[in-house]
Structure formats: C-alpha cells, structure tokens
C-alpha cells in the first residue's frame, strides 16, 4: 500500500519517498536529541526506540522490508526491551546527576561532541558525494528476492565475520553469566526442611492473629484474645496506647434509639 501511494505521488511530481523522509527524519532526529537530553533513563530509552522505529520505516521505504521488520523485531522488540527491563530494576526515581566531577567537563564534552560529529559528517559526505546509488540489479529487477539477497550475502560473502560475531556474542553472554552467577549458600531446602523450621520450638507456625479476633468489638484497638481468654500480645499495636474504659464510657449511649 505504501509503495502504491509512493507510485501515485511520484506520477504527480513529488516522490512519496521524500514526503515520508521529511516527515520521519525530524522525528528520528528528535528521538536522537531526546535520547541525549532526557533526564530519566527510561525516557532516554524510549527516545532511542522512536529513532530505531523511524530507521526501520526508512529501510522499508527503500524497498528493504525484511531488514525493516527485523530491525523492529530484534532491536526495538528484543534489545530495547531488555534495556527497559534492566532500567526498571533500578527504580523509577534514578535520574542523572548534573554535578560536574571535573571542572569544565560539560563544556569540553559538548565541544568534543561537535567536533566528532563534524568529522563523521565530513568524512561521510566526502565518501558519499558523487556516488550514484543504484539497487543491485538482481533483486531490483525481481530476479532475486530481498530475503534471498541478504541470505546470500550473510552466508557466503560475509560467512566468516558472521560466525565470528556469533561466537563473540555467545562468549560474552556466557562470560556475563559466569560473573553474575552466585552459588547458592547451603543446599536446597525442600518442603520438609521449611516445615520443620516453622514448627521448631520458639517459632510461631501459624499466621498472627488479627486485631479483634475472639473479641466483642472489631476495632483495631481491641486486642485479640486467645482461646483461653487471655490477651494475645502479638495483636497489641504499639502505636495505640492501652487504656480501659470507665463504667460510664462503657455503658450504652442510646445512640441507636431502639433500646431506650
């Protein structure tokens, strides 16, 4: 459908690709800026997700739908989700500290950042300018599908780098597991051990009595009574001062108007 729209617009003089580009490019850039400027880590991660989604749409627009959807599934769906998972474990109030540990650090960072961006941009511009961009004729003419072309590149031309990357990532993951793994102290405690611990002398096996158990009132200030009538100390709140009602206080107030 998107391609159809692109074709109809192209017949009228404006290329649909450029329309989508000028809509999405500011969003992608805004996402990238937001990533750097956001104070909360989660907001930064979300901004990055927006940029990645825009990139995916760019890929789809440039007739690489497979790459676009894999970008969404792998980067936005899996990797960013893992990021979010870790960030959420830190708690939502963790914000970047704006305190400068080195004097003038922020200024230098901005200057060096701009310099780096300028270097990259000029290098790219030099490399790209004057290039004629044309799709590979094999799949531009439909002789080979997009997926086939990627598969052929990955599993023939770039097979060795691909395998090396896969190996390196696996080693990294296993290494991280090794560092993070903590052997459990003591053996596994089963149901029997837990039960024995619960019923050992000195520990109380059941749930604590709630306030008002076996009492005439359901106020939180009323202590729970044991079956023998004595007061259960565990049900006494330390914040409610204990006091005894006088006879006048305890007498019926005739507030209900029935037993007058």
């Amino acid at each position: 459908m998107m391609i159809d729209v692109a074709q109809t617009v192209a017949q009228n003089g404006i290329s649909g690709e450029s329309v989508f580009f000028w809509i999405l490019a500011p969003i992608a850039l805004g996402g990238a800026m937001g990533l750097v400027l956001a104070r909360s880590a989660i907001h930064a991660a979300l901004m990055l997700a927006v940029t990645m989604l825009c990139l995916a749409v760019f890929y789809i627009m440039q007739a690489a739908p497979f790459l676009g959807f894999v970008q969404i599934m792998v980067y936005t769906g899996a990797i960013m989700m893992l990021f979010l998972f870790v960030l959420m474990l830190f708690g939502r109030d963790s914000k970047d500290s704006m305190f400068e540990t080195l004097r003038g650090q922020r200024l230098f960072a901005v200057l060096l950042g701009i310099g780096m961006a300028a270097l990259l941009a000029s290098g790219l511009a030099r490399a790209v300018s004057g290039m004629t961009i044309a799709a590979d004729p094999r799949w531009a003419t439909g002789a080979q599908s997009n997926v086939e072309a990627i598969a052929e590149a990955l599993f023939s031309t770039y097979l060795f780098p691909f395998e090396v990357m896969a190996g390196a990532l696996t080693v990294a993951a296993v290494g991280a597991l090794m560092f993070a793994h903590v052997a459990k102290k003591g053996g596994h405690r089963g149901q029997r051990e837990h039960s024995r611990e619960r019923f050992a002398p000195g520990s109380y096996p059941g749930p604590r009595p709630g306030p008002g158990v076996f009492a005439n009132s359901d106020s939180t200030a009323t202590p729970a009574l044991r079956p023998d009538g004595s007061i259960e100390p565990a049900s006494l709140s330390e914040y409610v001062p204990p006091r005894q009602l006088t006879a006048a206080e305890a007498a019926p107030k005739h507030t209900e108007g029935r037993d007058a």
Partner: protein, 437 residues
C-alpha cells in the same frame, strides 16, 4: 494489491469493525463457556443470551472516572494504552480472510494488504505491543504494576523466541514469508509414497510441522498473556498487574488490546498451520467451497475454534508458577524448537531427490540421531523415594492428641442457649432474633 483508494478504506474500516465485534463476542463467549464449565449460568441479563453484556461493560467503563495516580509519569501513562491498542489492531491488517472476490466489479482479495514479508509484520507488532504493557506498569508508579511489567517483559522476550522459531519452520517449509502465499502453498496436497502405495496428505502445515504447531500454540498463549500464562496480571498475586492503576477508557483499552491480540494470534495460527481460509475437507466434496465469500465461514470457524481453545485452557488449567513458566520456555520450548529446525533441514535434504544417495542417507540419519539423542538425554524428573521410616519431625510436629476434645467456642457460649432448652416454645425459638430484640 492494486485496489482503488475507496476499497482500501472500506477494507480498513471492515477489519476494525470485525475485530471490535469479535472482541465483544469473545468476552461474552468466554464468560458463558467458563460459566458452563463451572455449572453456573453466566451473564444472561442483557440482550438475548446476555449477548450485550460486554457492550454494557464497555459503556460502563467508558463512563467511569479516569484516575491518574499522583506518582504517575503522565506522558508515558497516557501513551501506554495507545501503543497497546495500535499495535494490536495493526497486526490484523495482513491476515487473509479469503480468496479473490468480485466487489462491485473489482477483483480484489479479502485481505487489507499483503507484501513479501507480511508475517514479520505480525511478529513486529506483537513485539511492539509489549511496550504498552511494560510502560503501563512502569509509568503507574506502583509496586504491583512494576512487578507486572517486569514479568511481562521477561515473559514476552522468552516466548517470542520459541514463537519465532516455530514460525521459522513454516518459512522453511514453504520458502515464503507472505501470509497470502503461505495459505496458497498449503492448498497443495503432500504426495507420499509408502511401499508403492501413494497417499496424498492434506498440505496443511500442522500435519507436516506438528512439533512447530504445538510449540506455536503454547507460546502464542504465553505471548498473549492468557491463562495459564497470565502472570503479568495475576490477580491472586499482583492485584491486576500492569493495569492496577488504570481506570475508565484506558483500562478498557488494555482489555481491548488483549482480546484483539488473542484474535490475531488465533488468526495467525490458522493462517500458518491450518490452511487459512481453505475448507476443512477435500475440494472434490464441494467444488465451490473455496470460492467467493464462502471461505469466510471456514476462516472464522477456525478462529472461533481457537478462541474456544483459549477459553477452555482458562477454564481448565491453574496459573503456572513463575519459575515453572520460565523453565518451560527456556529449557523445553527453545531447545526442542532448535533441534526440530535442524532435523527439518536435514530431512529436507534427505528427501530431496536431486542430491546423491550418500548425502541423503547421511542427512536423514543425522536427523534420526538428533531426535533419538533428544529423547535419550531428556532430563527426567527425580523419582520419588519412599522414606525408610515415618518422619517424626525435629522435636516432633505439634500433632493434636488422639483424645482431643475440642473446647466450645467462647462466642457460642454467650449467644446460644444450651442444647437441652433449644426446643421451640409457642412457636418462638431461642435463635429467633426478632423476638430477642
């Protein structure tokens, strides 16, 4: 897909309407079926058979007060339900309902859109839909919500792998990634020769790819957060999980998204494994069964069967514990999927008559060895060992004595008369409260 613009719009609106109606129907259907399973009537007040119950519930939700917690992250809190609903609806765009039909003189397919890799669109949408749940839990600023969100994130990442591997086998077998083309590929039968006699199996992939079908069905329940895998919203542990702080239309959006996802996943399973809109019997029985608008009946029949399966699961199975759930995902579904994918690849090379005989035998034998190794080395459950002597416990469990006489409850002593005088006199018993007051 060269439809005029008006037809595209009509199709888009129709897909939306069909989904919303299916959601309303599914909620009612689920409540009625679960009620029948639990021997009670279920909703039967609004409309015939209570059919309008979910509509009434939806309206009630819409008119409720919209509460936003003070600690909520406002933008994300509002964006989360929008993300969930948008992704849920978008995914359905590539599901084929039927073959080419003639609408007002225009030949068109009963499918909103289709392209080279349209199955990936559904997977991408389901991957993005989780953002709705996760962000909802995080932005609520509540512990239960956050726990629900963490569970949702871990769950979906884990089960997406198994789901993706199951879908991969379909890609592998059909060499296609477009929903419409996969349905058409399943229409051809699978000729097999067993000792001279030739049998034609139906080409639906749930026969050839039976392990993938089972894995897909299990992980699609996990992916849609439905019972018994509904840990992100486990009401007995987390109140309502990620949706605890949501109310009114925002809460309704999550509800809508969940049910739309159920419908989409059922439709995807039907498309990938159950022949899509094809009739469930050989074409020779009824030649016109796969033409015109008739396939809509087969398609929605299959989808409804899957929705019934979802409801059946919910009515039958208790919720899994979290570690059991993760173990099932990572230690059972993912390894089995990987081995099955390799076995399938080896089988395809082994059955391909273009290769020479030693290659075919080597690959088929390798596949057989892999299957046998999987069965042989499958970690078995530790056998229960009868204890040598009865367990008397450490210092003895507080077992009640055999001659225990239960003391009367203090409450019964004060309120009830002794049993001997409990004979009603002049028609008024001692328990008659009206007389006492």
């Amino acid at each position: 897909m060269n439809d005029p613009i008006w037809l595209m719009l009509v199709k888009g609106v129709l897909v939306f309407v069909v989904l919303v109606l299916l959601v309303l129907f599914t909620i009612w259907f689920e409540r009625r079926v679960v009620a029948i399973m639990q021997v009670r009537p279920g909703p039967n007040r609004n409309g015939p058979f209570g059919l309008l119950q979910s509509l009434a519930d939806g309206l009630k939700l819409a008119f409720k007060e919209d509460v936003m917690p003070r600690t909520a992250d406002k933008v994300v809190f509002i964006a989360a339900p929008v993300i969930a609903v948008t992704c849920a609806f978008t995914a359905f765009a590539v599901i084929p309902f039927g073959p080419e039909v003639n609408v007002f003189g225009i030949e068109t397919e009963l499918q909103l859109t289709d392209f080279e890799v349209s199955v990936l669109l559904i997977l991408a949408c389901s991957a993005l839909g989780v953002y709705g749940i996760v962000l909802a839990g995080w932005s609520s600023g509540s512990t239960y919500s956050l726990l629900g969100a963490l569970r949702a994130a871990a769950q979906v990442i884990s089960y997406e792998i198994a789901l993706g591997l199951a879908v991969l086998t379909v890609f592998f077998q059909s060499q296609l990634m477009s929903t419409g083309a996969i349905v058409e590929a399943q229409a051809q039968g699978l000729p097999l020769t067993f000792g001279g006699t030739e049998i034609t199996l139906p080409g639906w992939y749930f026969i050839i790819l039976a392990p993938s079908f089972v894995i897909f069905v299990i992980s699609m329940v996990g992916e849609t957060n439905r019972a018994p895998f509904d840990l992100p919203e486990a009401e007995s542990e987390l109140v309502a999980g990620f949706a605890t702080e949501y109310s009114s239309l925002k809460y309704a959006s999550f509800f809508l998204a969940e049910y739309v996802n159920m419908v989409t996943m059922s439709a995807l399973c039907v498309t990938l494994f159950l022949g899509g809109w094809a009739a469930p019997f050989p074409a020779s029985w009824w030649p016109g069964a796969n033409e015109g608008f008739m396939p809509l009946v087969w398609f929605f029949g299959k989808v409804l069967a899957f929705l019934f399966f979802y409801v059946w699961l919910r009515g039958t199975l208790p919720r899994l514990r979290y570690d059991q759930f993760m173990r099932l995902g990572w230690k059972v579904l993912v390894p089995v999927s990987l081995v099955w994918l390799m076995v399938l690849a080896a089988m395809n090379i082994g059955l391909d008559t273009d290769n020479d005989l030693p290659t075919r035998i080597a690959f088929a034998g390798g596949a057989a060895i892999a299957v046998m190794a999987l069965i042989f080395f499958w970690p078995s459950r530790k056998q229960y060992e009868e204890p040598a002597e009865p367990d008397t416990g450490l210092g003895g469990f507080p077992v009640p004595p055999l001659d225990l006489a239960v003391p009367p409850s203090p409450r019964s002593l004060t309120e009830l008369e002794p049993a001997s005088t409990a004979v009603p006199v002049n028609g008024s018993g001692p328990t008659d409260k009206g007389e006492e007051e």
